[in-house]
Symmetry: C2
Subunit: 449 residues, 2 copies
C-alpha cells in the first residue's frame, strides 16, 4: 500500500511500487495498440460549463483560480470560461472529437491514459487524484453494434495479460439496457428510468428494499416488482440466459433486440476469452447516457474492490450542428487496480532500481575509467551506474545489495575486469565490450507477490 | 504545430503528433533508466504554503477550490491547507524526499516525467500546461561533485538519441556559480547576487545596458563592470577558458575552485559526448538556489526557442530537523521540444494509427472468422483491426490508405488468404499463423520530417 501521504486521497508510490504501476501501464498500452487504438491525451483542464453540461453536476469538481488574479481573468470567469480539472476522460473525449472532427478518421479508435481529479471531501478516504485508462470507438453519425462485441475483448486481453504478474481471475459482467428497458415496457411499467435506477441499488440495499421502492416510487405493483427482481437475478456464462428470460413470458421488440445483442457479446467472448465474461442482468450502470451494452468487471474473490473496469454503449457521446457521435467504451481504474496489486500483495518488482550493474570504484582517481566501463555496457542496453564513492568494496557491494542491483563490476588492475553476481557470489572475468546479463536480469521485472 | 485549441496555452496533439511525443518520452525514459535513475511520480497537487515557501512567489500558481464546497473545506483552507497545482517538479521532489527519506536509498537517483501548470495570463501565448522531464541525484547530508559531471551526460545521451528522429544539433552551455561569484569577490564587488542577476539579463538588454546597471545598481565602477562583461564573454568548447580567465588577473579561492570544477565537466563531456558541451561564462540561471555548476541547452540555429534543458547544482534542495539534502538536476521542457519537432517539421510519424494490418471483411456474416484472423496476428505482436463494415474492397482499402495502414488482409474463400502491401500493390498468399511484416512496418515509426 502507498505509504500514508500527507494528503489523503492523493496516492504516491515508492520507486519499487512505481515499477509495478509502470508495468501495468505498459501492458495496457501494448494491448490497446495491438487492437489498433490510437493514443490521445487531452489537457487536464476543461471549461466548467462543458463539464457540467453533461448532467454530471453531482460530480465533485475542482475549480482553478490563479493566485495572482487580475481583471482580465475575472472577465474570463464572468464570461463563463471558468477552468476546472476533468473528472473523467469521457467528457474531454467528446470535446476533443467535436474540436477535431475534421481531422479525425471515423470510426475513431482511441485509448487515453491520464490522471483525473475528483473534489471529494478529504474525510471520505476516496481517491481525489487517480489514473484511468479508457478505450472507446466513436462513430460519426452511426456506429455498428459489433464494437459492443469488440471492446470488452480489448479489456479482457489487457487484464488477461496482467494475470502474469499476479492479478487474480476477473469477470466482466455484461448486460444490455435494451433488455431491461424492453422487459419493463413489456411489463407495462411507465417510469423506465426510475425502475432502472432503483434496480441499480440492489447491491447496496438488497432485494426486499428494492421491491418496496419499486412499488412506492416507480409505480410498480407487487407482481411487476417481483418480475423486475427475477430478471435482475438471471446470470449465465453462456447464452442460456435468453431462455430464462423468455420463460418469464414478457414480450417487447426492444427486449428481443437486447437479448440478441447480449447473446452475441456472450458468444463471441466465449470463443475469444473463455471463462471471462458473463451475462448478468443485474448490471445497470448508473449513468443515464448508456443506451446498449453495459459492462462492469470484478476481481473474483474481491468484491469489496468494486468494479475495476466499466463502460458501455452510448448513442450520443457528442453532437454538433451536423452530426451526432455515438460510441462504445470501457475504462479501467488504474490506480484502484495498482493499489490492489500492491496493497494485497498480488505483485511486486524484482528490484527497486533499473540498475543492472554497479561499477565499483577502486579509487576516486579511476572514476573516468569506471565511467567508460559504464558507457560501454550502457551502449549495449544494460542499465548501469558507477559507485558514488571509492569506499571499501564491502560497502560498495552493500550499496548494490540494498537496492537489489544484481551485479557488481570490478575494474581490473593488472588482471582483467571481473563481474560478480552478488546473489550467488559467483565472480568471473568479463569484458565491458562483450559481457551480457541474462535477459531476465537486465531490467527489474514485475512478478506475482 | 498543434491545431489551435479552444484554450490558448493548453496544447493538444492529433494522434499522429501524439506518436512523436510518445517516442520522445520513451527515448528519455530508456536513456534515464540506462543511467540507473528510478522513476517517481508525485501528485499534481501541493499545499500552497509549500509551493510559495521556496521563494518562487513570482510564479503563477493555480489554486484549487471544490465546486461543492462545505464548511469542512473552508476549515482546511483556514488552516493553510490550500491546494494548488505544482508549477515544476523540483518543489514536489523536495517534499517527496522529506516525506519518504526513511524509505529511500541515498544518493537518490530519480527521474520524473509529468505535467506541470503555470497560471500565466492567457494573452501571453505561453504554455499554461506542459510536460517536463527531470533528472536529479539527491544526497543525504552531502553529495559529491562528480554528479555535476554525470548529469549533463545523461541529458546529452537523451538528446543525442533524439537526433535520429530529426532533432537538430544542440549545445549544452555550462558555467559554475563559483566562477562568477569568486571572480566578483576577487574584484572586491560586494553585491554578488545583484551582479549575477544583472549579468543574467545580457541576452535581453545587451552589454551596454548591463554595464550601466552594474554601475547604477550594483555598486560597480566602470572597470569592474567591464571586467564582468569580459568574463561573461568567455566561451570555449574545451578547457582553454581557464587560461583566458586567469589572464584577467583576478584572484580568489572560490574562483579557483569554480574553474577546476568547470574544467572537469568540460573535459569529461569532451571525452563522452564530443562537440555537445561548451563552457559559457555568460550562463547565470535566474534561480537563487543554484550553488555550483549550471546548465542551459539550446538547439543550434534556433535560439528563439530558448533553453530546452536547464538545471544546476543546489546545496539545499530540502532540509529537515536532522539533515540537509543537496542535489544536482536538469529538466527538459518536453512540450517545448515536441512543439518544435512538430512545428518546425523536424520529425513526423510514418502513420497516424498503430494498426499494421486491416483485415478486410468480405461479408458481415464472416465477421467472426475475420476476428479470429485478427487474433492470430495479434497474438504474434502485430497490431490489427478488422474493417468496420463489409463495403466494397476498394472502399476498405481506402480506409487503410487514409490512416497509413500498410497491409490489407483478404480472407480466402476457396483459396488461401492473401495479404496486400497497399503501398506497392504487391499481393501474396499468407497464413495468419505465420505471416510477419518487416520489423519497420510493425509499428508506426518516428522519422526526420
Amino acid at each position: 500500500m502507498a505509504r500514508p501521504a500527507s494528503l489523503s486521497g492523493f496516492p504516491e508510490w515508492l520507486p519499487a511500487q512505481g515499477i509495478v504501476e509502470q508495468h501495468v501501464l505498459d501492458t495496457l498500452r501494448r494491448t490497446f495498440e495491438l487492437w489498433g487504438l490510437s493514443s490521445i491525451e487531452t489537457r487536464a483542464v476543461e471549461l466548467l460549463e462543458q463539464l457540467v453540461s453533461k448532467g454530471e453536476v453531482e460530480k465533485e469538481v475542482y475549480l482553478l483560480r490563479r493566485l495572482h488574479e487580475d481583471p482580465a481573468d475575472a472577465g474570463e470567469e464572468r464570461e463563463g470560461r471558468q477552468l476546472a480539472l476533468h473528472f473523467d476522460l469521457t467528457v474531454p473525449l467528446a470535446r476533443y472529437v467535436l474540436e477535431n472532427a475534421g481531422q479525425l478518421q471515423f470510426p475513431f479508435r482511441r485509448y487515453q491514459i491520464q490522471k483525473v481529479w475528483r473534489g471529494e471531501r478529504p474525510q471520505e478516504g476516496r481517491f481525489r487524484e487517480f489514473t484511468q485508462a479508457d478505450v472507446d470507438v466513436i462513430g460519426n453519425g452511426e456506429l455498428p453494434f459489433h464494437y459492443e462485441v469488440e471492446l470488452p475483448l480489448v479489456m479482457a486481453d489487457a487484464l488477461t495479460a496482467l494475470r502474469a504478474i499476479g492479478l487474480p481471475p476477473f469477470t466482466i459482467q455484461v448486460n444490455n439496457r435494451k433488455v431491461a428497458e424492453g422487459f419493463y415496457r413489456g411489463l407495462a411499467l411507465q417510469d423506465v428510468g426510475g425502475v432502472l435506477r432503483t434496480v441499480d441499488k440492489l447491491d447496496k440495499i438488497g432485494p426486499a428494499r428494492v421491491a418496496e421502492l419499486l412499488v412506492a416510487e416507480n409505480g410498480a405493483d407487487e407482481r411487476q416488482a417481483a418480475m423486475c427482481l427475477t430478471l435482475a437475478g438471471i446470470r449465465s456464462p453462456d447464452v442460456s440466459f435468453v431462455e430464462r428470460v423468455r420463460a418469464l413470458g414478457v414480450e417487447h421488440p426492444l427486449l428481443d433486440e437486447g437479448l440478441t445483442e447480449l447473446a452475441r457479446v456472450v458468444e463471441a467472448a466465449g470463443e475469444h476469452v473463455p471463462g471471462v465474461l458473463v451475462a448478468d442482468l443485474r448490471i445497470a450502470r448508473g449513468l443515464d447516457y448508456y443506451t446498449g451494452t453495459v459492462y462492469e468487471t470484478v476481481l473474483d474473490g474481491h468484491p469489496d474492490l468494486g468494479s475495476i473496469c466499466s463502460g458501455g454503449r452510448y448513442d450520443e457521446l457528442a453532437r454538433d450542428e451536423r452530426n451526432v457521435y455515438p460510441g462504445v467504451g470501457l475504462s479501467i481504474g488504474v490506480t484502484r487496480l495498482v493499489s490492489a496489486l500492491l496493497g494485497r500483495g498480488f505483485s511486486r518488482a524484482t528490484r527497486s532500481v533499473p540498475t543492472c550493474v554497479l561499477v565499483a570504484l577502486p579509487d576516486e582517481k579511476r572514476r573516468a575509467e569506471c565511467d567508460f566501463i559504464a558507457r560501454a555496457l550502457r551502449e549495449r542496453g544494460i542499465p548501469v551506474e558507477v559507485s558514488p564513492s571509492a569506499s571499501k568494496y564491502g560497502k560498495q557491494i552493500r550499496y548494490a545489495d540494498r537496492r537489489g542491483i544484481p551485479f557488481v563490476w570490478f575494474p581490473g588492475d593488472e588482471r582483467d575486469d571481473e563481474v560478480r553476481d552478488i546473489r550467488s557470489g559467483e565472480q568471473v572475468p568479463a569484458d565491458a565490450a562483450a559481457w551480457e546479463p541474462l535477459d531476465e536480469d537486465r531490467y527489474p521485472r514485475v512478478v506475482p507477490g
